[in-house]
């Protein structure tokens, strides 16, 4: 299996052993892949309905997408909005897939979705000892992700470009959820 975390910190070997199922690199970039699915996604694709599968199956303390709909509506660029929605739908699916494992955690902080000064969108998951970020850039080939931790978690330091391929994103998010499960 490929690895999803691109190692950029020589001190992170302990961490790598914990995520041996990770894939090799988040290759490619948003926008390079097939467009057919991408074009069909819009802000309306993102579920706000409390009866949706996501809200029905995840208790509120694990619903990290609280407020996501409001944040999505603030993104002026329709293509960037679609990128964000596409990414969040992938995140939602991975959360649903892992819902039974997540039950043991208790609660999770919500994703923070902010529009940066250069109109890129930063989707960030902030924990006390680590931060995970996904930056949807105006130049989509530069969209990227990172995972950094502090001394309590050995100062790991990973980053990479964000792939446009659903499978690559799913593998990356699966690895990230595994990290969250191991360190929360």
């Amino acid at each position: 299996m490929k690895k999803s975390f691109q190692q950029t910190n020589s001190d992170s070997s302990d961490y790598l052993s914990d995520v041996s199922s990770c894939t090799d690199s988040a290759s490619g970039s948003l926008g390079e892949g097939p467009e057919e699915n991408y074009r069909s996604i819009s802000a309306a694709s993102f579920p706000t309905d409390k009866d949706s599968e996501y809200f029905r199956n995840l208790p509120s303390n694990l619903n990290i997408l609280t407020g996501a709909s409001d944040a999505i509506r603030k993104i002026a660029d329709p293509e960037k909005q679609r990128d964000v929605v596409k990414f969040l739908l992938s995140m939602q699916n991975i959360l649903l897939t892992n819902r039974f494992a997540l039950d043991s955690i208790g609660s999770l902080p919500p994703l923070r979705i902010n529009i940066n000064e250069d109109d890129s969108v930063l989707i960030e998951w902030i924990f006390r000892d680590f931060r995970i970020g996904f930056s949807i850039e105006t130049n989509r080939s530069q969209s990227n992700w990172y995972l950094v931790s502090n001394k309590n978690l050995n100062q790991v330091d990973f980053s990479g470009l964000l792939s446009s391929k659903d499978q690559d994103i799913d593998e990356l998010l699966t690895s990230i959820i595994a990290f969250v499960l191991s360190n929360t």
């Binding site: 923070r112 902030i126 931060r131 990227n144 992700w145 990172y146 950094v148 502090n150 980053s159």
Partner: protein
Amino acid sequence: MCYPDFLIRGIPNQEFLDPDDLPSTQLFHFKKPESARLPGYLEESINWYDDAGAISHTFNQTKEDGTAHFKVGIAILCRSELDRIRNNPNVRQQFDYERYQLPGNPYHGNMLLKKDAPKQLVRKIAAQLALNVTQIIKREDYERQ
């Protein structure tokens, strides 16, 4: 050049703190245009914690209209964290810091970032800085003392 162990980054408004009072990553984004003084670099202001006066000085900094520059408070970081980022082989001299005193602000310095640094590095450095803030002093707490 001699640097103290700590530095201060002002927090202009509540958007830079999350509900748990953790600093946002955006607090460490480089927002200013390319430096005219240092072509090829972006700079963001900090104050060096040379002595306790650096804290009161930062809280007392005002904008042109006379209002407080850092309405919410200040974030304190260890210089060793900046050194760790700066010395990472993957950063390769794209991130640095300096002391650059200004008239009326002897504590002033800058964090420096190469203008053409890859986006993924820029975002990650900002997250590392935010994650490693050692203390937040909120204005309301400071003024209550």
